[in-house]
Symmetry: C2
Subunit: 345 residues, 2 copies
Amino acid sequence: MSYHQLRESAHVQSDADPRSEPGASGVEIGLNAAIVAVADNEPVVLIIRNDADGAAATDGLPFGPFSPVQHRTFEGGLRAWVLRQTGLELGYAEQLYTFGDRGRSAEPGDVGPHVVSIGYLALTQAKPALDVQHGAWRSWYQYFPWEDWRRGRPDILESTIEPRLREWTSSQRVAANGLPVSRQERVRMCFALDGAAWDEEKVLERYELLYEAGLVEEAVRDGRDAARQWEERPRLGVPMRFDHRRILATAIGRVRAKIKYRPVIFELMPDDFTLFELQRTVEAILGPHLHKQNFRRLVEGAGLVETTGEVKMRTGGRPAKLYRFRREVLLERPAPGVRVKPGKV
Amino acid sequence: MSYHQLRESAHVQSDADPRSEPGASGVEIGLNAAIVAVADNEPVVLIIRNDADGAAATDGLPFGPFSPVQHRTFEGGLRAWVLRQTGLELGYAEQLYTFGDRGRSAEPGDVGPHVVSIGYLALTQAKPALDVQHGAWRSWYQYFPWEDWRRGRPDILESTIEPRLREWTSSQRVAANGLPVSRQERVRMCFALDGAAWDEEKVLERYELLYEAGLVEEAVRDGRDAARQWEERPRLGVPMRFDHRRILATAIGRVRAKIKYRPVIFELMPDDFTLFELQRTVEAILGPHLHKQNFRRLVEGAGLVETTGEVKMRTGGRPAKLYRFRREVLLERPAPGVRVKPGKV
DNA sequence: CCTACTAATGCTCAAAATGAGCATAGTTGG
DNA sequence: CCAACTATGCTCATTTTGAGCATTAGTAGG
């Protein structure tokens, strides 16, 4: 008995045959990859520039269709076309989220086939030369400048984002008892206003808030914000095609969360590295500066690394010991990761 | 310009038009829900029994097709058909994972339409009476008896699972240098052999290991293990339809992880509760016993709850204060949760 | 060669969080 | 009224953090 037949016999499941509902079938599956690396202490993501169009050039993530006939698994399909398109052999890859909201196409009333996109996160070492035609590594902070706290609180928050958001929140009626959380509270939490703490993992929540407030270009493009008419609309970060910036936001949030409880940071490192290089990489991902001595204590104490015996000269000071990732740690501890908290320099 | 047209113009993306590959289109999307509650200190999940077939009755999760025409979002579609099928208004729901492996249909060589299923986790309060025809709340430990550590290490581990797994690992060549992690190491980690610590979040990993080892009925059914012929094949947990047990395993792992950093446990509680009832609920989810006084200190100290002023009598001892969830905590702390570690009773 | 400078590395210390257990307080059932 | 039983309060040793001082070993410039 096939899946199909089984489904029919399970009449409890659904009071309408899916195939009789228009559009229930015929959905296309697209795979999107946020391929992340760290180059020169800058977190970068592989971007495909769609400049075949000329004027309408926009940045986007690599994507490809999923063909269930050719590939048994999503991940298999993903690896195959990423290799074909970019020459990159993906190491670590994990599924992020499946995006299916109507409106993905940016065209209201679009009647084309519905596309469901499955976002993936891949981590790799930075390969400077890439044999992809229109692709390039670009810092992810180009798309999310407000997420870069490595040189302290980004100016864009105070200069642009906060005033605009306060304006947006104040346009909501005050006594919103029915709502679970008011605009004001959401803004306060996400953007750490009024003394609240900045949570570097809430990347997606912040992006979606800016989208709702009509402060990112995608919101205007998608027609969410057609009513408003601010003369000088600030351009908050570089926009991306479709909902790729949302996928990237999900990816950043996921990496930031994950390095704290899984040793995925080493996917981004060369085989040998100094502890300070490791720290710089973690900081590139997370944002804030870490306390150097404590970082070292943490990483060594958790048994994540071992010395190679070599040292790296020309550090600008005393030579630094080289370390390598201890893969065995995966067998020793249930959840090894870089459990860091921001500290003084 | 529609998504479709854009995709064509982005010829970099794909060197083959997806529509020319057979099967690239026409995929069906199914939504699966693991709807979880806690009733009488037992974690339960809403099960649909497919007994229209008669003999081939099997437990399954509620599922329904996703129609992009009727519903704008997956979650909207999910809530709609869950309400129709079960009369249940879902509160908390989150996407788990999208499963698309071929072989879902359990029929090798099946040429029916490919089905991609998006798993969801929903948390709700236990509602004893449910107006669903063939549905029922069943303890999730029926499907995963080895996950129930509330009365110490489950016997089934020592009596059945460990010997079978050791047999399975020993059938692998020893010097497996090429492999990232050997069978033996994976088994040791997942099932806490030889003194390794039990990680209650690795529910999915354990299930998949048992599947690979051919120790769960689904593996036999799917033809993964056709070669083997053990006379007395142990039945490890109650099997489920399709890959629903995998989805449920994902759900359990997710809840177990999530209650530690988000206050989702309160989705499972009535409005007012005693701290010990809260503790029992956490224990039902996580497995091991917690230290009562420290649990209380943790929950109160984190500001997760506040007293209602009422007390609950007839506890069998001193009356217990009633508490309620402090929703404001969401606005105060970035990641409030029940950060528990197992302790003595 | 000597000195200044820069990082890497080693070590200390107070504060906070954690794990465990003892002690006391109210009810319920005889 | 006593015994049993659970709720709740509190203490204490141990670990884990957060922060900073001190020392070491190179490089660059005279």
